[in-house]
Symmetry: C2
């Protein structure tokens, strides 16, 4: 998605060969107009799939997920990273290790909001090694719901998350795919439709 | 806001005299169309105030804040509840005690995204004893920004948060104001405009 790539080129900061900082529009400060366009694009790519629910994870997945939910006219459920005292029903739980934050979190969703009648689109801000996505997939599978696919804002294609998910037969739609962060520069994977132009 | 009150009456669950659970549309599962209407209403109430930025706190504040930001055409910054390793600049920090969750969190915002040229609208999901709002106000004051007011989705008017903030001279706009949760029922404060009808 060209609009997103331009935003990353303009405002993203390459901190190392593995870390792209997008705190100015996605992870800390959020650009609502950009989120609106991302939501519209997710809704377009996953139209006509019978999706009933979007699942994401707090906190940075919420903004793009809520905009996709607005256009798809379906609810969003966000997985929490630890138990809340007022979430006292049965919980679906899984474990996610974050290499960036160097911590392991239990993630959970109330089974009140996800069941075998649902068809789920998972949305998250980043896909790197796929740990968060695998945790969310685990929750969806535990609920008995069908998984329609995964929508990612920024895929670090030089890490193995996308490959792992595709090998599991899961459809992954990433709005920006980064081939490399070497030499302080963001290199995107050219999409086929652009190569043909 | 009648639409929100009806949603609370229909889908909110009174767990005790102090706890209203709205996990089905605000705190865990989120209704994007409702959030869109809440955002529109915040934008209307705080129009023509010269507001440059919305400040909220992860996670449940993000959805209403992002929708308000969309209509007001301004960025949203969400305070984090603990430090992230990739947020390595100077941080504005404060402390918030949650009586519901029985825990104290450090909250922080990068001073890159908030400064003395900003005019801020704080948005949050709940206002009870005002601890989260006071923490966010502290961050705004540390940054030197001007505070235009506070937009709240659900105010528990029987707790003293709103009173405290108003005594500080702060404008508080709550879209639903709950007078009581006694006897398992939600009683709203009648807005003056409705009383006159």
């Amino acid at each position: 998605m060209r609009l997103l790539e331009e935003k990353i080129e303009k405002d993203g900061k390459v901190l190392s060969e593995h870390v792209l900082k997008v705190d100015s529009f996605l992870n800390h400060q959020i650009d609502p107009s950009l989120m609106n366009e991302l939501g519209k694009e997710f809704a377009k790519r996953f139209a006509n799939e019978g999706i009933t629910k979007i699942v994401t994870i707090e906190s940075s997945g919420i903004a793009p997920a809520i905009m996709a939910g607005l256009y798809m006219k379906i609810p969003v459920v966000f997985a929490r990273k630890r138990k809340s005292l007022t979430l006292n029903e049965d919980l679906l739980t899984s474990t996610v290790h974050s290499f960036t934050k160097k911590e392991t979190n239990q993630i959970s969703i109330s089974n009140t909001y996800l069941n075998e009648n649902d068809c789920v689109l998972i949305i998250d801000d980043f896909l790197a090694n796929g740990q968060a996505a695998l945790g969310l997939i685990d929750l969806v599978q535990q609920s008995g719901a069908k998984l329609a696919g995964i929508g990612i804002v920024i895929e670090k294609s030089f890490q193995d998350g996308a490959k792992k998910l595709k090998e599991m037969g899961i459809r992954v739609e990433s709005l920006a795919r980064i081939a490399s962060l070497s030499n302080g520069e963001v290199q995107f994977i050219k999409e086929r439709v652009e190569e043909l132009v």
